[in-house]
Subunit: 192 residues, 2 copies
DNA sequence: TGCATTTACCTAAGGGCTTTAGGCAAATCA
DNA sequence: TGATTTGCCTAAAGCCCTTAGGTAAATGCA
């Protein structure tokens, strides 16, 4: 009986790679076991269950993404920072579609609160400090940006923008231009 | 042997309701059969397989949503139309979270091309005609709006904005204000 | 109205993924 | 080196998906 040296970390890492190959929704304990050439039951000492595995892949992706974003944003401000941050997001979704999908997975509130998701939110707020928005507008803007980034990655991943002109790359650039313009010119609350 | 009178339409309708109750990802041929008090195999005369069932629920949701949007937008223009359209989207996601998730499902290109998704795109373009954007900016704007609507619904459905101030309702209103302002003031392509 | 055809639902069966319980051998430690 | 821990295994049960082939209800036709 050869020991492969499974650990939760190795499983999650391999799970993330598997997600990128076959899609996050097709990540399965069985397939993971197959890849380690190990029986399925063996994984259950390292991971609670299938749900737990997926959650931990999601948390892993969120961390990874937050680390990349932090690097990209360091030393930048204004549109520069916004673009760098947004591009990390989109590039990650291109290079790691499975992990990106994982990062969009629904987490229960406590898990989410303990996740790197909060770092993302903090970074976004830091970027927004370059545009001066008073609360609650800053929060509205955070939510708008989050929606755009998630939404764009989702639609692009679903093939929404492929095979139609202009190419998605150009739209992305122009969307960022537009968001920058919007943030510099955030409208006052209209008087009814 | 009592006959229940299954049809593809009834299955899809019931499937949509099931999705709203348990989440689209938990819609299962078995559960559907249980609800009709019928054996699982019986469904396979009406629906090709599980994937087919889900796809048809997605198409159903897209149609329903397009019909609602068309009604809401009729007779409106400018911000009025934009708001009406956007609110249909969001209200639908609130009232029918499962169907909304279905509507966000990845479809293969041919299926997507034959779906009500194209009506959605056409309506968006019609609304944008109220803001005068020349191509390719109109397309960029369509993609931005799509991303925001999908993204906001996704994050809200995932509980992203709950239990934090200001409430999601207010953010949504202000996001629409902001999008309207942006469309009225779409930035020219910056000269590098 | 009676018979043939079609159709709706059924049983049976195989295969995959998940999860738990309990066992044996490799690694670790004293 | 012997004891303990730990990593991976077998076995088994449960649920979902899917196909093949059967039976009875509904429908159509003479």
């Amino acid at each position: 009986m050869v020991r492969v040296g499974l650990t939760a970390q190795r499983l999650i890492q391999a799970g993330a790679e598997l997600a990128d190959e076959v899609g996050f929704e097709h990540v399965t304990v069985s397939e993971l076991a197959r890849r380690f050439d190990v029986k399925v039951a063996s994984l259950y000492s390292h991971v609670k269950n299938s749900q737990d595995l997926k959650t931990r892949i999601a948390l892993f992706a969120l961390e990874e993404l937050a680390d990349l974003s932090a690097d990209a944003v360091a030393g930048r401000a204004g549109k520069d920072a916004l673009t760098a941050f947004a591009n990390v997001y989109r590039d990650y979704a291109h290079q790691h579609p499975g992990r990106a999908a994982a990062a969009r997975m629904r987490l229960d509130p406590e898990t989410a609160a303990a996740s790197a998701g909060v770092r993302h939110a903090r970074m976004m707020r830091a970027i927004l400090r370059g545009y001066d928005l008073a609360e609650p507008d800053e929060t509205h803007a955070v939510r708008l940006l989050g929606s755009v980034f998630h939404g764009y990655a989702g639609l692009e991943g679903a093939g929404g923008f492929s095979h139609s002109a202009p190419d998605s790359e150009e739209s992305w650039t122009r969307v960022l231009d537009a968001l920058d313009a919007l943030l510099r010119n955030w409208p006052a609350r209209p008087t009814p």
